[in-house]
């Protein structure tokens, strides 16, 4: 009997492309990295399903970090930018309905967090988080200010390149991903021990957003383009055996 399935499991993760768990240059990883081999098995329904997030949960300013924490009539300080792109899977298909959550430091490189100790000032009009859901073609955009680089305790003089953190939900829990977007031309990218957890130069480059003059708003905001790729899912295959054998 031939069975045609419309959905299959997720393609295995390329662990050589992804960062290893133990990366001594990033000191915190040393005691937080599992030492035993990961247990590999094909995805099941537990990994092929995902919670539902509807556009109706979004507020008007959720994707506008310049205004979503600002007092009425005010706005966050810093270079105004639009970040936009598409969420795709490894097959190149758009991923509609993906929830993106993003967070970042302010223009001075300071986070709004009680454990944050950098001396740069808080911006009273900047909270530092936003979220959106991709459209039918997998596209998204949000408005923010360009975050500043900041120092962090690791080596004696380590600085993070300017970056925006992204959390992504696709169509299966197996696609769950957290990553960071960097900005074209930032010399700190190639000095950063966290970036350096990724071995492959092309993989690092896939996290660097280029300036996108086509999407700038003249006299208002520059734009950066950042596409995100989630694990691919086998869509259709044929089986010549009875199900359950």
């Amino acid at each position: 009997m031939t069975i045609i399935k419309n959905t299959g499991g997720f393609v295995p993760r390329d662990r050589n492309w992804q960062p290893a768990a133990l990366t001594p240059q990033y000191k915190t990883s040393v005691k937080r990295s599992p030492q035993a081999a990961l247990l590999s098995f094909p995805t099941t329904l537990s990994e092929e399903t995902n919670p539902v997030f509807g556009h109706n949960m979004l507020g008007d300013l959720d994707n506008d970090l310049i205004h979503n924490y600002a007092a009425s009539g005010e706005s966050a300080i810093g270079p105004r930018i639009i970040v936009h792109g598409r969420v795709l899977d490894e097959m190149g298909r758009p991923v509609p309905g993906a929830l993106l959550e993003f967070w970042q430091a302010n223009a001075g490189g300071r986070y709004r967090h009680k454990k944050e100790s950098y001396l740069a000032p808080l911006d009273p009009n900047f909270g530092g988080c936003g979220r959106t859901i991709t459209g039918e073609d997998g596209s998204y955009e949000f408005r923010t200010i360009q975050p500043g680089p900041y120092p962090w305790p690791n080596g004696m003089n380590d600085w993070r390149p300017a970056h925006i953190h992204f959390s992504v939900f696709g169509h299966g829990f197996a696609q769950r991903l957290i990553t960071q977007m960097y900005f074209e031309g930032d010399p700190h990218i190639w000095l950063c021990p966290i970036v350096d957890t990724i071995d492959d130069k092309a993989a690092v480059e896939s996290l660097i957003a280029p300036l996108d003059m086509h999407r700038t708003v003249p006299m208002d905001s520059r734009a950066y383009k950042f596409d995100i790729v989630l694990r691919g899912r086998r869509q259709t295959f044929f089986e010549n055996r009875v199900e359950g054998m």
Binding site: K31, T43, S46, E47, E48, N50, K115, H165
Partner: protein
């Protein structure tokens, strides 16, 4: 030369860092822009099945609890159905989201989920898997989110037939995946990132 396989590469992961809670549970950090933090509640009304509490702590290789982690869980309802757009086997309990997210306690790092005991879900070959909850852990120092599963120690019979649990080479590590019953309806599932009693993590 051959034709090119035009596949894309998955975006590389980067650590969630120390401030993941700003982005994912902003209300917890005092940033009130949205309503309730996503995943704070898994029940939106009366739910079917046995209501349970899951508690636990994530420990590093020195035995120190993590206080900057974010833990997410994903599971089916009491009947084994997922509240997901790609669930094709039936309609899950509409009052149960199946998804929880916890920043852990500010001082102790302990996470708590108020959920239901999951029903069984089939493996791709049709055999039933033992009831389990999928866990995903991110934190500063974790370069790529760690997947694991929590099974129930009081489901010995189902666990003994589970297609994954029975396939683990080092059977002496299986207890790292079993939640301990602390009281009626209360289970403890501690996660050890490294060293003695290191939790089994999955490459799924």
């Amino acid at each position: 030369m051959t034709q090119k396989l035009e596949y894309l590469k998955e975006s590389p992961s980067q650590t969630a860092g120390p401030y993941v809670h700003i982005g994912c549970t902003p209300n917890f950090t005092g940033i009130e822009i949205y309503g309730e933090d996503l995943g704070a509640s898994m029940k939106t009304g009366p739910v079917k099945g046995q209501e349970i509490t899951i508690k636990g702590t994530v420990f590093d290789g020195t035995g120190t609890p993590l206080r900057d982690a974010m833990i997410e869980i994903w599971q089916p309802d009491g009947e084994g159905l997922f509240n997901s757009a790609n669930e094709t086997r039936g309609q899950a309990d509409p009052n149960f989201t199946g998804w929880g997210r916890s920043p852990g306690d500010m001082n102790t790092g302990e996470f708590t989920f108020e959920t239901v005991k999951p029903g069984a879900v089939p493996f791709p070959d049709g055999r039933m898997q033992a009831p389990h909850v999928t866990f995903w852990v991110v934190a500063r120092g974790i370069n790529i989110g760690l997947h694991t599963r929590m099974y129930f120690e009081d489901e010995a019979e189902a666990n003994a037939a589970d297609p994954i649990l029975t396939r683990i080479e080092h059977q002496n590590r299986v207890p790292t995946l079993l939640a301990k019953k602390e009281a009626d309806g209360v289970y403890r599932f501690d996660i050890r990132l490294q060293g003695e009693g290191e939790t089994i993590f999955f490459d799924i």
